[in-house]
């Protein structure tokens, strides 16, 4: 029982970080009706911004985190929207999807060539010491990662549903034509969405990189799992992305512990196929309509 609890909590912790990246897929889908296949790299790059802040500018870790977050919002939020999404979107969603694939390669190769091809250690936000949780030995890092990730999702949900700006963002996503005639600044709301996506990706990076180490290829795994999590949960719902992320994190850990670790990488793909066959709109998704 204690082992099950340990595996479950560890899975939830990892899954909640996947969920942050998966929510980014949902947000960008709502705002621009496109899939950002560079989302995994968006989680990989901020860790290197932090390392640059510490290594090149001599910043203390916490300041480097703030630097990494700000730079990510500027580059992966603002510049991504202005330089890639806005010019390419009028040429069609598929064109933009292909552009994000190219961007993923560009980011990966740039980090590899300009920083290092080797995995870099990344300071942990929280202690990795074990603690007793109802008889199970669970790492403090896992518990705090889970709490921080879920708190971020709760804050984001409250922002979108309880504030006027959040509801304006929903209006801009669900019916941009109506939002415009009501006086909502649709372009600004879309920009906010991209900035939030970049911030979520950065926070996911800060939580997961201490475990995975900072490596140029991290985005491949994280991007694929987050993409599958978003589809499994329901691509047009934030809560769907959360459920998808948690589900994959937990199933991955349970399978590795109780079945086999050999095929754990195949599990998300099996889950994806099952969901597409049984419930193509995802567990929480709706077959039509857009909402954030």
């Amino acid at each position: 029982m204690s082992q099950f609890l340990q595996v479950l909590l560890s899975g939830l912790a990892t899954g909640s970080i996947y969920a942050l990246a998966a929510i980014g897929f949902a947000l960008v889908w709502q705002a621009a009706q496109t899939v950002n296949f560079a989302q995994g790299e968006f989680v990989m790059v901020p860790a290197f911004f932090v390392l640059i802040g510490m290594g090149f500018f001599g910043m203390p870790f916490w300041l480097a985190l703030a630097f990494g977050l700000a730079l990510s919002m500027l580059v992966l939020g603002y510049a991504f929207k202005k330089l890639i999404v806005e010019p390419i979107l009028p040429h069609g969603g598929i064109t933009l999807i292909i552009a994000t694939m190219a961007l993923a390669i560009l980011l990966k190769e740039t980090v590899k060539e300009s920083y290092s091809a080797e995995a870099q250690p990344f300071p942990a936000l929280f202690s990795n010491a074990p603690m007793n949780f109802f008889g199970a030995a669970v790492s403090i890092q896992d518990i705090l990662n889970l709490i921080v990730s879920l708190s971020i999702v709760v804050v984001l949900t409250l922002f979108l549903n309880r504030t006027r700006t959040g509801r304006s963002m929903q209006a801009a996503a669900q019916n941009p034509a109506v939002a415009e005639i009501l006086g909502v600044n649709v372009k600004r709301m879309v920009l906010y969405t991209f900035l939030i996506n970049a911030a979520l990706a950065s926070l996911a990076a800060f939580l997961i990189t201490p475990v995975y180490l900072a490596k140029f290829s991290n985005g491949e795994t994280i991007g694929l799992i987050a993409f599958i999590a978003a589809i499994v949960g329901g691509f047009n719902q934030i809560r769907g992305a959360l459920v998808g992320g948690l589900l994959i994190g937990v199933l991955d850990n349970l399978t590795a512990t109780y079945v086999t670790a050999q095929y754990r990488a195949a599990l998300p793909l099996v889950l994806l196929i099952m969901i597409i066959l049984v419930r193509p709109q995802g567990i929480m998704g709706t077959s039509e309509g857009r909402s954030v």
Partner: protein, 245 residues
Amino acid sequence: MLELRNLVGGYGKITILNGVSFSIPKGTITTMIGPNGAGKSTVFKAIFGLLKIESGNVLIDGQDVTRQTPRQMIAHGVTYVPQGRNIVPQLSVYHNLELGGVTAPDQDKVKQRIETVMDQFPMLREFRNRKAVELSGGQQKQLEVARALLLDPKLILIDEPSIGLSPVLVQEVFKTLIRLRDQGVTILMVEQNAKAALAMSDYGIVLELGQTRMHDKASNLLVDPRVGQLFLGGHVEEASPADAH
């Protein structure tokens, strides 16, 4: 109240409006009619800053508001209810109403206005927490009209309010518009159901090929044989300059 002077404009390189001119007085209902493609909805979009105006002017109470943004037009007291479904589907009825006042600096006042508007449309109070997408077509149209009233507009541009509604609900919407007119609001409407719309209007405008062909009292247009001819597939032959004023 609203005056258009020789308005020319369209979508990209395609010109739809070829010199639309008319003026409508305050506190009246004016219905714009014309065959498909005449440019009726385009006139609304041009007034509201949603498409390119090549030349001409839009004036409100004598003030030139040509090429202003929707946000600026709202500040001038103009609201626009386009045809079709114009709700934010996943937001509640209350929050859809609230969006009607999103540009207002005083949000406490918006909350008070929502209560006033819900008094006028009791159905909205009943369903205030329901998602807008869960309302019927007629209820959604009422929500749109109510939302348009939130900032106490001087001028409402309403496009095809009867589309998709049952005859009973059409009468309800028309009654609402008459009530607003009686309160001093100016209404410019496009309506396919021309006879019914003209019957409840003060003035009528006939638009054809992006130009004003006729502009007269609605009661006169109702009995004008040229209007019937226009809607039977012909075009207005004898529109004198005096008709288009």
